[in-house]
Protein backbone atom coordinates (compact mmCIF):
# COMPACT_ATOMS: atom_id res chain seq x y z
CA UNK A 1 0.00 0.00 0.00
CA UNK A 2 1.27 3.43 -0.93
CA UNK A 3 0.20 6.27 1.35
CA UNK A 4 0.54 10.01 0.93
CA UNK A 5 0.24 12.27 3.96
CA UNK A 6 -0.39 15.94 3.12
CA UNK A 7 1.17 18.23 5.67
CA UNK A 8 0.52 21.83 6.44
CA UNK A 9 3.03 23.96 8.34
CA UNK A 10 1.24 25.93 11.08
CA UNK A 11 2.08 28.08 14.11
CA UNK A 12 2.50 26.11 17.33
CA UNK A 13 -0.81 25.80 19.22
CA UNK A 14 0.49 27.96 22.09
CA UNK A 15 1.24 30.88 19.74
CA UNK A 16 -0.17 34.31 20.39
CA UNK A 17 -1.50 35.53 17.08
CA UNK A 18 -0.46 39.01 15.94
CA UNK A 19 -0.54 40.90 12.64
CA UNK A 20 1.71 43.46 10.98
CA UNK A 21 1.74 45.96 8.10
CA UNK A 22 -1.50 47.55 9.15
CA UNK A 23 -3.12 44.19 9.95
CA UNK A 24 -2.68 42.88 6.40
CA UNK A 25 -0.13 40.15 7.21
CA UNK A 26 0.44 37.51 9.85
CA UNK A 27 3.34 38.46 12.11
CA UNK A 28 5.58 35.40 12.05
CA UNK A 29 8.33 36.76 14.27
CA UNK A 30 8.77 34.60 17.39
CA UNK A 31 6.52 31.92 15.91
CA UNK A 32 7.50 28.27 16.15
CA UNK A 33 6.14 26.20 13.28
CA UNK A 34 4.86 22.66 13.70
CA UNK A 35 3.18 19.90 11.69
CA UNK A 36 -0.53 20.74 11.70
CA UNK A 37 -1.87 18.61 14.61
CA UNK A 38 -4.66 17.02 12.52
CA UNK A 39 -2.05 16.02 9.90
CA UNK A 40 0.18 14.59 12.63
CA UNK A 41 -2.62 12.29 13.84
CA UNK A 42 -2.87 11.10 10.21
CA UNK A 43 0.89 10.67 9.83
CA UNK A 44 1.01 8.61 13.03
CA UNK A 45 -1.71 6.28 11.69
CA UNK A 46 0.25 6.00 8.42
CA UNK A 47 3.38 4.97 10.34
CA UNK A 48 1.28 2.28 12.05
CA UNK A 49 0.36 0.91 8.61
CA UNK A 50 4.04 0.97 7.67
CA UNK A 51 5.14 -0.88 10.81
CA UNK A 52 2.32 -3.46 10.68
CA UNK A 53 1.55 -3.91 6.98
CA UNK A 54 4.72 -2.68 5.28
CA UNK A 55 3.07 0.38 3.74
CA UNK A 56 5.21 2.97 2.02
CA UNK A 57 4.73 6.60 3.11
CA UNK A 58 5.32 9.80 1.16
CA UNK A 59 4.73 13.19 2.72
CA UNK A 60 4.01 16.36 0.78
CA UNK A 61 3.60 20.02 1.61
CA UNK A 62 2.84 23.09 -0.47
CA UNK A 63 4.97 26.05 0.47
CA UNK A 64 8.37 27.71 0.42
CA UNK A 65 11.58 26.49 2.05
CA UNK A 66 10.48 27.27 5.62
CA UNK A 67 8.32 24.12 5.30
CA UNK A 68 11.44 21.95 4.93
CA UNK A 69 11.97 21.61 8.69
CA UNK A 70 8.53 20.08 9.27
CA UNK A 71 8.91 17.71 6.31
CA UNK A 72 12.26 16.59 7.82
CA UNK A 73 10.46 16.01 11.08
CA UNK A 74 7.87 13.88 9.27
CA UNK A 75 10.73 11.82 7.77
CA UNK A 76 12.25 11.44 11.24
CA UNK A 77 8.89 10.23 12.56
CA UNK A 78 8.82 7.51 9.90
CA UNK A 79 7.84 8.73 6.41
CA UNK A 80 9.99 7.32 3.57
CA UNK A 81 10.14 10.23 1.11
CA UNK A 82 9.24 13.90 1.20
CA UNK A 83 8.06 16.26 -1.52
CA UNK A 84 7.70 20.00 -1.29
CA UNK A 85 5.70 21.79 -3.95
CA UNK A 86 7.50 25.08 -4.19
CA UNK A 87 4.58 27.52 -4.41
CA UNK A 88 3.40 29.89 -1.73
CA UNK A 89 0.09 28.53 -0.35
CA UNK A 90 -2.51 31.18 -1.19
CA UNK A 91 -5.90 29.51 -0.85
CA UNK A 92 -7.40 26.05 -0.39
CA UNK A 93 -8.39 25.68 -4.02
CA UNK A 94 -4.88 26.41 -5.27
CA UNK A 95 -3.28 24.08 -2.69
CA UNK A 96 -5.73 21.27 -3.51
CA UNK A 97 -5.05 21.64 -7.26
CA UNK A 98 -1.28 21.40 -6.70
CA UNK A 99 -1.68 18.36 -4.46
CA UNK A 100 -4.07 16.70 -6.93
CA UNK A 101 -1.46 16.98 -9.69
CA UNK A 102 1.11 15.29 -7.45
CA UNK A 103 -1.32 12.53 -6.45
CA UNK A 104 -2.38 11.72 -9.99
CA UNK A 105 1.29 11.33 -10.97
CA UNK A 106 1.98 8.83 -8.17
CA UNK A 107 -0.81 6.23 -7.81
CA UNK A 108 -1.50 6.41 -4.09
CA UNK A 109 -3.93 3.95 -2.51
CA UNK A 110 -4.59 6.17 0.47
CA UNK A 111 -4.22 9.92 0.90
CA UNK A 112 -4.35 11.40 4.39
CA UNK A 113 -4.81 15.08 5.14
CA UNK A 114 -5.92 16.81 8.32
CA UNK A 115 -9.59 17.67 8.87
CA UNK A 116 -8.48 21.30 8.76
CA UNK A 117 -5.36 23.33 9.38
CA UNK A 118 -5.35 25.09 12.74
CA UNK A 119 -4.35 28.40 11.14
CA UNK A 120 -6.62 28.88 8.12
CA UNK A 121 -9.35 26.42 9.31
CA UNK A 122 -10.74 26.08 5.79
CA UNK A 123 -11.33 22.33 6.06
CA UNK A 124 -11.75 21.87 2.33
CA UNK A 125 -8.44 20.70 0.82
CA UNK A 126 -9.06 16.92 1.05
CA UNK A 127 -12.64 17.28 -0.26
CA UNK A 128 -11.54 19.29 -3.27
CA UNK A 129 -8.84 16.70 -4.05
CA UNK A 130 -11.41 13.89 -3.70
CA UNK A 131 -13.75 15.52 -6.17
CA UNK A 132 -11.02 16.37 -8.68
CA UNK A 133 -9.57 12.83 -8.62
CA UNK A 134 -12.84 10.94 -8.02
CA UNK A 135 -11.64 9.38 -4.74
CA UNK A 136 -13.93 8.24 -1.93
CA UNK A 137 -13.72 10.84 0.82
CA UNK A 138 -14.40 10.76 4.55
CA UNK A 139 -13.53 13.61 6.90
CA UNK A 140 -13.66 14.04 10.70
CA UNK A 141 -12.07 10.61 10.60
CA UNK A 142 -11.58 8.96 14.01
CA UNK A 143 -10.84 5.39 12.94
CA UNK A 144 -9.31 3.68 9.92
CA UNK A 145 -8.69 -0.01 9.26
CA UNK A 146 -7.54 -1.40 5.91
CA UNK A 147 -7.71 -5.02 4.76
CA UNK A 148 -6.42 -5.76 1.25
CA UNK A 149 -8.03 -3.01 -0.79
CA UNK A 150 -11.03 -2.37 1.47
CA UNK A 151 -11.26 0.34 4.09
CA UNK A 152 -13.44 0.66 7.18
CA UNK A 153 -13.63 4.23 8.35
CA UNK A 154 -15.16 5.77 11.45
CA UNK A 155 -16.20 9.38 11.26
CA UNK A 156 -17.38 11.67 14.02
CA UNK A 157 -20.94 12.90 13.53
CA UNK A 158 -22.98 15.18 15.79
CA UNK A 159 -23.46 13.24 19.00
CA UNK A 160 -21.97 9.99 17.75
CA UNK A 161 -19.95 7.95 15.26
CA UNK A 162 -20.73 6.57 11.81
CA UNK A 163 -18.92 3.54 10.35
CA UNK A 164 -18.41 3.51 6.58
CA UNK A 165 -16.79 1.12 4.14
CA UNK A 166 -15.36 1.49 0.65
CA UNK A 167 -12.69 0.26 -1.73
CA UNK A 168 -9.42 2.15 -2.10
CA UNK A 169 -8.39 4.68 -3.30
CA UNK A 170 -9.58 6.79 -0.42
CA UNK A 171 -8.79 10.22 0.97
CA UNK A 172 -9.49 11.06 4.60
CA UNK A 173 -9.53 14.18 6.77
CA UNK A 174 -7.85 13.05 9.99
CA UNK A 175 -8.48 14.40 13.46
CA UNK A 176 -7.75 13.59 17.08
CA UNK A 177 -9.11 10.16 17.93
CA UNK A 178 -7.69 8.52 14.79
CA UNK A 179 -4.76 7.86 17.10
CA UNK A 180 -4.38 8.80 20.75
CA UNK A 181 -2.38 11.86 21.71
CA UNK A 182 -0.05 9.53 23.63
CA UNK A 183 0.69 7.58 20.41
CA UNK A 184 2.21 10.63 18.72
CA UNK A 185 5.89 10.01 18.06
CA UNK A 186 8.70 12.29 19.11
CA UNK A 187 11.56 11.77 16.64
CA UNK A 188 14.55 10.05 18.23
CA UNK A 189 18.20 10.60 17.30
CA UNK A 190 18.25 7.55 15.02
CA UNK A 191 15.15 8.79 13.20
CA UNK A 192 16.66 12.25 12.78
CA UNK A 193 19.92 10.79 11.38
CA UNK A 194 18.04 8.48 9.01
CA UNK A 195 15.87 11.38 7.81
CA UNK A 196 18.97 13.05 6.36
CA UNK A 197 19.50 10.10 4.00
CA UNK A 198 15.88 9.87 2.83
CA UNK A 199 14.73 11.24 -0.56
CA UNK A 200 13.57 14.86 -0.40
CA UNK A 201 12.36 16.26 -3.69
CA UNK A 202 11.36 19.81 -4.53
CA UNK A 203 8.73 20.08 -7.24
CA UNK A 204 8.20 23.44 -8.88
CA UNK A 205 4.43 23.11 -9.37
CA UNK A 206 2.28 25.21 -11.65
CA UNK A 207 0.84 28.61 -10.92
CA UNK A 208 -2.77 27.75 -10.16
CA UNK A 209 -5.68 30.14 -9.98
CA UNK A 210 -7.08 31.21 -6.61
CA UNK A 211 -10.71 31.88 -5.83
CA UNK A 212 -10.26 33.90 -2.67
CA UNK A 213 -7.91 36.47 -1.23
CA UNK A 214 -7.48 37.19 2.47
CA UNK A 215 -6.45 40.79 2.91
CA UNK A 216 -7.20 42.09 6.38
CA UNK A 217 -7.02 40.62 9.86
CA UNK A 218 -8.36 41.65 13.22
CA UNK A 219 -8.30 40.22 16.71
CA UNK A 220 -11.45 39.67 18.79
CA UNK A 221 -12.33 42.56 21.08
CA UNK A 222 -10.90 42.08 24.52
CA UNK A 223 -13.53 41.22 27.05
CA UNK A 224 -15.26 43.64 29.36
CA UNK A 225 -14.59 43.36 33.10
CA UNK A 226 -15.59 40.08 34.70
CA UNK A 227 -18.28 40.16 37.41
CA UNK A 228 -17.27 38.06 40.38
CA UNK A 229 -19.95 36.40 42.45
CA UNK A 230 -19.39 35.00 45.91
CA UNK A 231 -19.86 31.21 46.24
CA UNK A 232 -22.23 32.01 49.11
CA UNK A 233 -24.47 34.10 46.89
CA UNK A 234 -25.24 31.93 43.86
CA UNK A 235 -28.69 33.49 43.48
CA UNK A 236 -26.88 36.59 42.29
CA UNK A 237 -25.30 34.58 39.44
CA UNK A 238 -28.69 33.18 38.44
CA UNK A 239 -30.14 36.69 38.37
CA UNK A 240 -27.25 37.92 36.18
CA UNK A 241 -27.72 35.03 33.76
CA UNK A 242 -31.47 35.55 33.66
CA UNK A 243 -31.87 39.34 33.68
CA UNK A 244 -28.61 40.68 32.28
CA UNK A 245 -27.21 38.01 29.95
CA UNK A 246 -30.65 36.53 29.22
CA UNK A 247 -29.27 33.04 28.61
CA UNK A 248 -31.38 31.08 31.09
Amino acid sequence: MKILVCISCVPDTTSKINFKNNDTEFDNSQIQYIINPNDEFGLTRAVWFKENDGAEIDVVSVGLDNNDQILRKALAIGADSAFRINQEALDSFQVAKLLSAHISNNNYDLVIAGRESIDYNGGMVPGIIAEILNFNYVTNCVGLEITDSSAEIKREIEGGVETLTCKLPLIIGAQKGLVEESDLKIPNMRGIMQARQKPFEIIQGKTEETKTKTFKFEKPESNKEIKLVSPDNLDELIQYLHNEAKVI
Partner: protein, 320 residues
Protein backbone atom coordinates in the same frame (compact mmCIF):
# COMPACT_ATOMS: atom_id res chain seq x y z
CA UNK B 1 -30.19 33.79 -10.48
CA UNK B 2 -30.89 33.03 -6.86
CA UNK B 3 -29.62 32.36 -3.36
CA UNK B 4 -29.88 28.69 -2.48
CA UNK B 5 -29.98 27.54 1.15
CA UNK B 6 -29.39 23.90 2.03
CA UNK B 7 -31.65 22.96 4.95
CA UNK B 8 -30.55 20.14 7.24
CA UNK B 9 -33.09 18.10 9.11
CA UNK B 10 -33.05 15.16 11.46
CA UNK B 11 -36.11 12.91 11.64
CA UNK B 12 -38.36 15.57 10.12
CA UNK B 13 -37.04 18.25 12.44
CA UNK B 14 -35.29 21.14 10.79
CA UNK B 15 -32.07 22.09 12.54
CA UNK B 16 -31.85 25.47 14.23
CA UNK B 17 -28.60 26.21 12.40
CA UNK B 18 -30.51 25.92 9.11
CA UNK B 19 -32.96 28.60 10.25
CA UNK B 20 -29.90 30.73 10.86
CA UNK B 21 -28.62 29.99 7.33
CA UNK B 22 -32.01 31.02 6.00
CA UNK B 23 -31.96 34.23 8.08
CA UNK B 24 -28.54 35.00 6.57
CA UNK B 25 -29.79 34.34 3.05
CA UNK B 26 -32.81 36.59 3.55
CA UNK B 27 -30.61 39.44 4.75
CA UNK B 28 -28.24 38.83 1.83
CA UNK B 29 -31.19 38.91 -0.60
CA UNK B 30 -31.92 42.48 0.50
CA UNK B 31 -28.38 43.47 -0.51
CA UNK B 32 -28.28 41.74 -3.88
CA UNK B 33 -32.00 41.48 -4.80
CA UNK B 34 -32.26 37.77 -5.53
CA UNK B 35 -34.87 35.17 -4.58
CA UNK B 36 -34.16 32.85 -1.68
CA UNK B 37 -34.70 29.17 -2.46
CA UNK B 38 -34.49 26.52 0.26
CA UNK B 39 -33.58 22.95 -0.66
CA UNK B 40 -34.62 20.22 1.76
CA UNK B 41 -33.94 16.49 1.51
CA UNK B 42 -36.38 13.94 2.95
CA UNK B 43 -38.23 16.19 5.38
CA UNK B 44 -42.02 16.45 5.34
CA UNK B 45 -42.45 19.11 8.06
CA UNK B 46 -41.75 22.19 5.97
CA UNK B 47 -44.06 24.68 7.67
CA UNK B 48 -41.45 26.10 10.10
CA UNK B 49 -39.35 27.24 7.12
CA UNK B 50 -41.91 29.85 6.08
CA UNK B 51 -41.17 31.78 9.30
CA UNK B 52 -37.79 32.69 7.82
CA UNK B 53 -38.79 34.03 4.45
CA UNK B 54 -37.90 31.67 1.57
CA UNK B 55 -39.55 32.48 -1.78
CA UNK B 56 -39.46 28.87 -2.86
CA UNK B 57 -38.85 25.47 -1.26
CA UNK B 58 -37.43 22.61 -3.29
CA UNK B 59 -38.38 19.51 -1.37
CA UNK B 60 -36.67 16.30 -2.43
CA UNK B 61 -37.98 12.92 -1.35
CA UNK B 62 -35.78 10.01 -2.29
CA UNK B 63 -35.32 6.74 -0.48
CA UNK B 64 -31.71 6.44 -1.62
CA UNK B 65 -30.91 9.65 0.27
CA UNK B 66 -32.25 8.41 3.60
CA UNK B 67 -28.78 8.21 5.12
CA UNK B 68 -26.52 11.21 4.66
CA UNK B 69 -23.76 10.55 2.15
CA UNK B 70 -21.63 13.60 1.33
CA UNK B 71 -20.95 12.49 -2.26
CA UNK B 72 -24.64 11.87 -3.02
CA UNK B 73 -25.86 14.98 -1.25
CA UNK B 74 -23.26 17.17 -2.97
CA UNK B 75 -24.36 15.75 -6.32
CA UNK B 76 -28.03 16.44 -5.62
CA UNK B 77 -27.40 19.97 -4.35
CA UNK B 78 -25.14 20.65 -7.31
CA UNK B 79 -27.91 19.60 -9.73
CA UNK B 80 -30.46 21.74 -7.91
CA UNK B 81 -28.06 24.71 -7.88
CA UNK B 82 -27.55 24.46 -11.62
CA UNK B 83 -31.30 24.18 -12.25
CA UNK B 84 -31.99 27.45 -10.42
CA UNK B 85 -28.73 29.19 -11.47
CA UNK B 86 -27.72 29.73 -7.84
CA UNK B 87 -24.80 32.11 -7.50
CA UNK B 88 -24.80 32.07 -3.71
CA UNK B 89 -25.20 28.89 -1.71
CA UNK B 90 -25.67 29.28 2.02
CA UNK B 91 -25.12 26.39 4.44
CA UNK B 92 -24.42 26.04 8.15
CA UNK B 93 -21.05 25.26 9.69
CA UNK B 94 -22.19 21.77 10.75
CA UNK B 95 -19.97 18.71 10.30
CA UNK B 96 -22.06 17.38 7.41
CA UNK B 97 -22.44 20.73 5.63
CA UNK B 98 -18.71 21.38 5.63
CA UNK B 99 -18.11 17.79 4.53
CA UNK B 100 -20.28 18.10 1.44
CA UNK B 101 -19.36 21.71 0.62
CA UNK B 102 -15.80 21.03 -0.50
CA UNK B 103 -17.10 18.39 -2.95
CA UNK B 104 -19.84 20.76 -4.09
CA UNK B 105 -17.36 23.57 -4.70
CA UNK B 106 -15.56 21.52 -7.36
CA UNK B 107 -18.80 20.41 -9.04
CA UNK B 108 -19.90 24.06 -9.34
CA UNK B 109 -16.43 25.57 -9.81
CA UNK B 110 -17.34 27.71 -6.80
CA UNK B 111 -15.34 29.27 -3.99
CA UNK B 112 -16.16 27.82 -0.59
CA UNK B 113 -15.65 30.05 2.44
CA UNK B 114 -16.25 28.47 5.85
CA UNK B 115 -16.72 30.00 9.33
CA UNK B 116 -18.40 33.14 7.96
CA UNK B 117 -19.42 35.53 10.76
CA UNK B 118 -20.87 38.53 8.88
CA UNK B 119 -22.94 39.67 5.97
CA UNK B 120 -20.76 40.92 3.11
CA UNK B 121 -19.27 44.33 3.86
CA UNK B 122 -19.10 44.80 0.11
CA UNK B 123 -20.90 42.85 -2.62
CA UNK B 124 -18.73 44.02 -5.51
CA UNK B 125 -16.12 42.77 -4.90
CA UNK B 126 -17.78 40.26 -2.56
CA UNK B 127 -16.08 40.49 0.84
CA UNK B 128 -17.07 38.68 4.03
CA UNK B 129 -15.53 38.27 7.44
CA UNK B 130 -14.65 34.80 8.73
CA UNK B 131 -12.99 33.49 11.83
CA UNK B 132 -9.48 32.14 11.41
CA UNK B 133 -6.48 30.93 13.46
CA UNK B 134 -8.88 28.67 15.39
CA UNK B 135 -10.98 31.62 16.58
CA UNK B 136 -7.95 33.62 17.71
CA UNK B 137 -8.61 36.15 14.91
CA UNK B 138 -10.93 37.23 12.10
CA UNK B 139 -10.09 38.04 8.51
CA UNK B 140 -11.75 39.76 5.59
CA UNK B 141 -11.78 37.56 2.54
CA UNK B 142 -12.52 38.59 -1.03
CA UNK B 143 -14.21 36.00 -3.23
CA UNK B 144 -13.43 36.31 -6.91
CA UNK B 145 -15.35 33.39 -8.40
CA UNK B 146 -18.79 33.75 -9.92
CA UNK B 147 -20.41 31.16 -7.64
CA UNK B 148 -19.75 31.10 -3.90
CA UNK B 149 -20.64 28.77 -1.06
CA UNK B 150 -20.69 30.31 2.40
CA UNK B 151 -20.96 28.29 5.59
CA UNK B 152 -22.25 30.39 8.46
CA UNK B 153 -20.71 30.13 11.89
CA UNK B 154 -23.26 29.11 14.53
CA UNK B 155 -24.83 32.00 16.50
CA UNK B 156 -22.96 34.64 14.48
CA UNK B 157 -26.01 36.01 12.66
CA UNK B 158 -28.84 34.77 14.88
CA UNK B 159 -32.41 34.03 13.89
CA UNK B 160 -34.46 36.63 12.09
CA UNK B 161 -38.14 35.80 11.62
CA UNK B 162 -39.62 36.94 8.36
CA UNK B 163 -42.91 35.31 7.31
CA UNK B 164 -43.40 34.23 3.72
CA UNK B 165 -45.66 32.03 1.64
CA UNK B 166 -43.20 29.96 -0.33
CA UNK B 167 -44.07 27.89 -3.39
CA UNK B 168 -43.18 24.25 -2.74
CA UNK B 169 -41.96 22.08 -5.57
CA UNK B 170 -41.02 18.41 -5.62
CA UNK B 171 -38.64 17.84 -8.51
CA UNK B 172 -37.40 14.55 -9.88
CA UNK B 173 -33.72 14.19 -9.27
CA UNK B 174 -30.83 12.31 -10.73
CA UNK B 175 -27.54 11.63 -9.10
CA UNK B 176 -24.61 9.24 -9.37
CA UNK B 177 -24.67 6.89 -6.41
CA UNK B 178 -21.51 6.94 -4.30
CA UNK B 179 -19.55 3.76 -3.64
CA UNK B 180 -19.00 4.78 -0.03
CA UNK B 181 -21.36 2.74 2.14
CA UNK B 182 -22.67 3.61 5.57
CA UNK B 183 -22.58 0.46 7.71
CA UNK B 184 -23.81 1.81 11.03
CA UNK B 185 -24.59 5.00 12.90
CA UNK B 186 -24.23 5.18 16.66
CA UNK B 187 -25.71 8.27 18.27
CA UNK B 188 -26.21 8.73 21.96
CA UNK B 189 -29.95 9.48 22.17
CA UNK B 190 -30.33 10.85 25.66
CA UNK B 191 -27.50 13.36 25.48
CA UNK B 192 -27.49 16.80 23.86
CA UNK B 193 -24.66 17.13 21.31
CA UNK B 194 -22.16 19.97 21.66
CA UNK B 195 -22.99 21.10 18.12
CA UNK B 196 -26.70 21.51 18.86
CA UNK B 197 -26.54 22.78 22.43
CA UNK B 198 -27.47 26.29 23.55
CA UNK B 199 -25.67 25.67 26.83
CA UNK B 200 -22.45 23.73 27.35
CA UNK B 201 -21.15 22.66 30.77
CA UNK B 202 -17.45 21.89 30.54
CA UNK B 203 -14.99 20.64 33.12
CA UNK B 204 -11.26 20.19 33.48
CA UNK B 205 -8.58 18.63 35.61
CA UNK B 206 -9.91 20.50 38.63
CA UNK B 207 -12.46 17.71 38.98
CA UNK B 208 -9.64 15.34 39.97
CA UNK B 209 -11.04 12.22 38.28
CA UNK B 210 -13.71 10.81 35.94
CA UNK B 211 -15.65 9.44 38.91
CA UNK B 212 -16.52 13.01 39.89
CA UNK B 213 -18.28 13.89 36.63
CA UNK B 214 -21.72 13.28 38.11
CA UNK B 215 -21.87 16.87 39.39
CA UNK B 216 -21.13 18.13 35.86
CA UNK B 217 -23.73 15.84 34.31
CA UNK B 218 -26.36 16.80 36.87
CA UNK B 219 -25.85 20.49 36.17
CA UNK B 220 -25.95 19.83 32.40
CA UNK B 221 -29.20 17.93 32.79
CA UNK B 222 -30.83 20.81 34.64
CA UNK B 223 -29.77 23.26 31.94
CA UNK B 224 -30.52 20.86 29.04
CA UNK B 225 -26.86 21.34 28.21
CA UNK B 226 -24.17 19.31 26.47
CA UNK B 227 -21.14 18.23 28.48
CA UNK B 228 -17.63 19.04 27.32
CA UNK B 229 -14.09 18.93 28.69
CA UNK B 230 -10.57 20.31 28.40
CA UNK B 231 -7.76 18.65 26.44
CA UNK B 232 -5.89 17.02 29.35
CA UNK B 233 -9.13 15.40 30.48
CA UNK B 234 -9.72 13.78 27.09
CA UNK B 235 -6.02 12.85 26.74
CA UNK B 236 -6.12 11.03 30.08
CA UNK B 237 -9.20 9.17 28.90
CA UNK B 238 -11.48 10.56 31.60
CA UNK B 239 -13.90 11.71 28.90
CA UNK B 240 -14.30 10.85 25.17
CA UNK B 241 -12.42 12.87 22.51
CA UNK B 242 -15.73 14.06 21.11
CA UNK B 243 -16.08 16.23 24.23
CA UNK B 244 -12.68 17.92 23.87
CA UNK B 245 -13.12 21.64 23.31
CA UNK B 246 -10.26 23.74 21.97
CA UNK B 247 -7.90 24.26 19.08
CA UNK B 248 -7.32 20.58 18.30
CA UNK B 249 -10.76 19.56 19.55
CA UNK B 250 -13.90 21.36 18.58
CA UNK B 251 -14.89 24.99 18.75
CA UNK B 252 -17.98 25.88 20.76
CA UNK B 253 -20.21 28.79 19.74
CA UNK B 254 -22.93 28.53 22.27
CA UNK B 255 -25.09 31.00 24.23
CA UNK B 256 -23.76 29.97 27.62
CA UNK B 257 -20.49 28.18 28.38
CA UNK B 258 -19.80 27.15 31.97
CA UNK B 259 -16.17 26.18 32.66
CA UNK B 260 -15.61 24.21 35.84
CA UNK B 261 -12.08 23.58 37.08
CA UNK B 262 -10.56 24.59 33.72
CA UNK B 263 -7.63 26.97 34.10
CA UNK B 264 -7.89 28.26 30.52
CA UNK B 265 -4.92 27.38 28.31
CA UNK B 266 -4.70 29.59 25.21
CA UNK B 267 -5.87 26.70 22.98
CA UNK B 268 -8.97 26.13 25.09
CA UNK B 269 -9.84 29.83 25.26
CA UNK B 270 -9.56 30.05 21.45
CA UNK B 271 -12.07 27.22 21.14
CA UNK B 272 -14.70 28.97 23.26
CA UNK B 273 -14.05 32.59 22.28
CA UNK B 274 -17.12 32.79 20.06
CA UNK B 275 -19.48 31.64 22.83
CA UNK B 276 -21.64 34.52 23.99
CA UNK B 277 -21.61 34.30 27.77
CA UNK B 278 -18.90 32.53 29.73
CA UNK B 279 -19.02 31.58 33.39
CA UNK B 280 -15.93 30.30 35.18
CA UNK B 281 -15.87 28.33 38.43
CA UNK B 282 -12.35 27.76 39.75
CA UNK B 283 -10.63 27.79 43.13
CA UNK B 284 -7.58 29.55 41.68
CA UNK B 285 -8.30 33.28 41.23
CA UNK B 286 -5.19 33.52 39.00
CA UNK B 287 -6.59 31.06 36.42
CA UNK B 288 -6.41 32.69 32.93
CA UNK B 289 -10.07 31.84 32.31
CA UNK B 290 -11.07 34.69 34.68
CA UNK B 291 -9.57 37.15 32.16
CA UNK B 292 -12.01 36.19 29.39
CA UNK B 293 -15.16 35.19 31.29
CA UNK B 294 -18.23 37.36 31.89
CA UNK B 295 -19.03 35.95 35.32
CA UNK B 296 -16.77 34.18 37.75
CA UNK B 297 -16.91 32.32 41.03
CA UNK B 298 -13.74 31.73 43.01
CA UNK B 299 -14.54 28.61 44.96
CA UNK B 300 -14.40 24.86 45.30
CA UNK B 301 -16.20 23.21 42.38
CA UNK B 302 -17.30 20.29 44.57
CA UNK B 303 -19.25 22.70 46.77
CA UNK B 304 -20.30 25.34 44.24
CA UNK B 305 -21.56 23.10 41.41
CA UNK B 306 -24.10 20.98 43.36
CA UNK B 307 -25.30 24.10 45.17
CA UNK B 308 -25.70 25.99 41.88
CA UNK B 309 -27.61 23.02 40.47
CA UNK B 310 -30.09 23.05 43.37
CA UNK B 311 -30.56 26.82 43.09
CA UNK B 312 -31.14 26.56 39.32
CA UNK B 313 -33.76 23.86 39.84
CA UNK B 314 -35.54 26.06 42.37
CA UNK B 315 -35.33 29.01 39.95
CA UNK B 316 -36.78 26.91 37.12
CA UNK B 317 -39.60 25.61 39.32
CA UNK B 318 -40.48 29.18 40.25
CA UNK B 319 -40.38 30.48 36.69
CA UNK B 320 -42.33 27.73 34.98
Amino acid sequence: MSILVYIESNQNQIKKSSFESLSYAKKLSKLISLDVIAVVINCSELAPLSDFGPDKIISINEKKLETFNAHNYADVISNVSKSVSAKNIIISDSINCKYLASLLSVKLDAAFVSNVVSLPNSTNPFVVKRSTFSNKAFCDIEINSEIRILSISKNSIGLNENKSEPIIINPDINFTESKLTSESIKVSEEKVSIEDADVVVSAGRGLKGPENWNIVEDLAKTLNAATACSKPVSDMGWRPHSEHVGQTGKPVSTNLYIAIGISGAIQHLAGVSSSKVKVVINNDPEAPFFKVADYGIVGDAFEVVPKLNEKLKAFQAENN
